[in-house]
Symmetry: D3
């Protein structure tokens, strides 16, 4: 690893460069949704609910497939200074649409939509408090809410006709941010790091070690191959820990 | 009181007709806002944040007065079945606008806007989980968030030049719903009661026993004077208990 | 009553505290609508049309019930200074939505929607000239337009299969504003009073003396029980006179 | 003239081919606007108000010129069947925008905007009842409202510094529709004719006999030179009568 | 002709008063659309595509008729200074809607919609570069794209059951602007002329010499009969040349 | 490289796996914009214009820095089947917003905004014809339009006070897509490949070999490290060729 590049850099939080923030995944956080998880990555808190509906979007009607989609929102005062309420402004901003498209694609990557059948699962990810990494926390938490919703369907016997076990879920996904801050590759950036770093990359991986999504942006200088490699190594470590946290939460530990 | 009208009616929750649900007011629920309160009326949970900004709307510029306003939202899966996200639909519905106007008016009734000076306090009331009475919970919680924001300003010496103590706050406000269910006047309706009752009234009162807002609607049959009197008596009892709960929360009890 | 509080108060219009403005209800004001009434409360003039359509909103389809709904608008120069045209701004304001929801609820309270059958009656209330009390004038006028539309349907034999007389109409509704101005409870506030009063309440009542809607707001100080009682007494007197005016208009007097 | 083309055609209204409908121009129809005229072309009734504001659009700021603009609306039940309220749909339709642009251009043609000074006059033309020809009625009525607003300004001494009489008004404009119905050129089409005619043309002329706007549309077959000539002759006759009616109204006859 | 009115006027382009700009009609300009034509009137360049869809708008369903409609857009930097992107502003302006309604009406005038059958042809006219006359160029180019789309349908045997040759096309349409500049009637105004002229008229004609649309506007002074006659004579000459250019393009010359 | 993975895969276009499509960059494509480039990647054609304005967004006012931003659009029939016009729908879709944010960030990475001074350069990228890779073509073409706009400013002496050569441009950026199709890593995917591939990655690089943006998405299966390495190698080769094509175009070759 390339932490030798800038041995003097100290993270604002005092964490080691390859250290995640404290992660919690609280299932059953609200009572109406089929899956409801409050995910915390340190001070970032996102409420992820999974809602099951017995219909599919127009483009899928009659095809025998289901759909998984996501919506993302931020409470106006989740952030340091109050931001406009998107419902009051009358439209969702580009950042919001970009994030909810990313969450939707990431979650669809772990679902067998034919096994799901003609139903839609909507993952609502609402940020109650933001401190960097809201989209990666959202993906990580939404996965647990999604599995809970599938389990709710399974418990009602909805997948009886389908052969085999935990059906429409074909893997697990988790996401984490990595970046280069003060020349040092770091894992799971908080807001203080995120706003000052040179490069920022969000990585979505599955439990087979494959990449689902990779979104890297050079904020300061363009990043080199060795920096990319260092960031990917951190992402691999971080998502492995997050995948373990998801399994622990689902196992009730 | 007229509870003798229908002695057979039993509240779905098992509560006495004049009994509030369990009420909690958790201050400092999120960390960025100048005031942040999670209010629970039973299973109804609303996050109320107060945000201070050093500007006023155009119609008040240069008049030496401040402004207090509110915005209301409901997370899509706060309810039994998922409702559309208003930001995605591109506009706030009539019910939302009506409620946020009510919250704003109610809170302005306890503020001396000249003492506040040229700043705006925005109360964001976001429903995390709904079980009836979200607007009354929101008003009751927003009052505590508002006082916390004023205290934050006071602690920074912003009202030094104003003579006297806890300045721009000139009273306390709390709100509760009352209704006629199965012929019985009841206090603080939950969703099961609200959707089946004949009459539903939201009452906002201050700590001087005065009415700030009264909004009664006959859902089934028109209500009579004696029913109105019975409901107002319950409202007086309920708001008195809520005003006490607010003071306890603010005193750190 | 509490008129002794401020015996010196004189209404800008010179009216007695319990005196309505001159009320006229002109039926057949325009020719296309099934019901069309110009209602005047003094200088407040609202055109109320009732339109019958043989369809119901999606949530009622196939349930054998009809729907009654309302829309409210104000011509840009109905007011002292020109206000923006809502169609040009691209959305209806909160006040507009609040008023049209109130009108719709009030009128539904006098209709048997099963007797109406699967049709929708839309009450369009457009303010040609405003001088306070537009929403109460609108409700009072819309009732007459609604009855005319029902009569039009009856004349075409649409309710033949339903047993009994003036079918889907199960009562009458009228509305009036009351308030406390300069300490005096007054009936039917005009703009000069409305903009300066301490408390303003809109009351919708039926011909059985029951309350349909009650919406009171303390603009200045919170109102007390005795003030509420005085206002309700005035409202009872005012709506009784308005209900008589409606019957006279419908009888062609 | 070519009325010999189809001698058998009888107008639904029984009017002669070159006969206007009954025209009335009622000044002072509402009381708040600086100019307020109800114009009737037969059963077509349009309320035209002129509102004076002491500001100009951004593109004119600081140029010493005024602005004259128009907005057009149709009450939902001005027509045979109810049309959607544009404010509720969230946008003005193409027809509405086209008509209000036409009204604005037509009225600007009779105003010296430098003499007007840095103020805006907005002409709101709202159709209370439609029976064809709403845009031509609107232009004809808006002219009278505009002159009343200018007179109101003159009476307040606003144009004292400008030399000469009725300053910013430099002419008069009126508009009428003409068309070919059943082969016969006719003047001032009502709805029954308008919806069935082959060609429809709206002509705006000034009191000098010049053309301000000409908008002809072949609905059925393309129109020939001789048909155009016949229509223009009718338009000349019709606008001359309308210009006389405007002068009579302004003279208080 | 009346060019003697102001013999001194010289067109900025050096053209004779009755001279069109260089006109080109490039078919097959893009590859996906059923018809795709780049039309140039001098420096004005508009891409016109015709898209065939097997559905009709709701108001035509089941009536056995087709529909022809148009949409118009201007790239933000088609003009001298950048104009806002309408998609970003969230609505199409009045000018855009007016132009696309004109294009649609003009093209429908040359189509037998019953012969077309239940399909919609949408003409998208997007201005890549503007130098005056974009709407007349759009109509002229859209006609060629429309014929190409009809030919594409014919080649697929879609009109086999209909008797006769080039079926749903019942004529040709072309459009040109004319105006009075410096007192001289001129043909096909470019931007330099358009922005300074006294009168501007857009004329749509068919190959039978009939008028489809006539839209004249007095920008400076009202125009007289003799000026109208001179402009119409120029329009007749111009559209004849454009109709010939269309036929040449369609013949592959 | 890993092309041995699936030796049997043949690209629909017949290209070698590491072969770009024919690339052209036509400068001065339209005449009004300060920079105007038509970029073609095979059948994908995007018109990129750079517009200079002497103002900056509110958040930069008075900071002495400039801004570079982008807007992206697709003509309705740029694609196989017609898509809705975003201006008519009233909002830009999530994909559009995502792409224009990417273009803006990429171009800002090669600009010294302090050297640019308080002006905004807007890059409008409008797709005339789409065949895959529109966003990478847009970035590649927009760079050339941006340099032309800077050169236009330089030629007017705008950067005289700044020391040194081709000032505000501090590097070059180009973009290309790479993917895994039928198991084979391929460069510059066209539509046929894009819609069927397993993984799709857009890579933006600078002329120093650094990464500006990396956006990879697993459409089918999650991609592994070796696949990522193979794709990045192709991206390096492709962007190098595109950077050379940009320099050739700017040199007038």
């Amino acid at each position: 690893m390339t932490t030798s590049l800038s041995p003097a850099f100290v993270r604002p939080s005092g964490r080691a460069p390859d250290q995640l923030r404290a992660v919690t995944l609280s299932r059953g956080y609200t009572r109406h949704a089929e899956g409801s998880v409050l995910v915390c990555f340190g001070d970032t808190r996102v409420l992820c609910t999974a809602s099951v509906e017995n219909r599919v979007p127009a483009f899928l009607r009659g095809k025998g497939e289901g759909w998984v989609t996501a919506e993302y929102g931020m409470l106006p005062r989740a952030t340091h200074s109050r931001s406009d309420r998107e419902a009051a402004r009358g439209k969702q901003g580009g950042r919001t649409l970009e994030i909810q498209r990313l969450i939707g694609r990431s979650l669809r990557a772990c679902v067998d939509r034919t096994a799901l059948g003609e139903r839609t699962i909507t993952l609502d990810c609402d940020v109650l408090q933001a401190d960097g990494g809201t989209r990666t926390a959202a993906i990580t938490g939404a996965y647990v809410a999604l599995v809970d919703a599938i389990n709710w369907l399974t418990a009602r016997g909805e997948f009886k006709s389908v052969k085999g076990g935990r059906d429409p879920i074909v893997g697990a996904v988790a996401a984490v941010s990595v970046g280069i801050c003060g020349g040092v590759p770091v894992l799971d950036l908080d807001y203080a790091e995120d706003s000052g770093c040179d490069t920022d990359m969000n990585v979505v991986m599955n439990d087979g070690g494959g990449f689902i999504e990779l979104q890297g942006t050079a904020e300061g200088h363009a990043f080199r191959d060795d920096e990319l490699d260092a960031m990917l190594a951190l992402a691999r470590k971080g998502t492995a820990e997050l995948l373990a946290a998801q399994q622990a939460a689902l196992a009730g530990r």
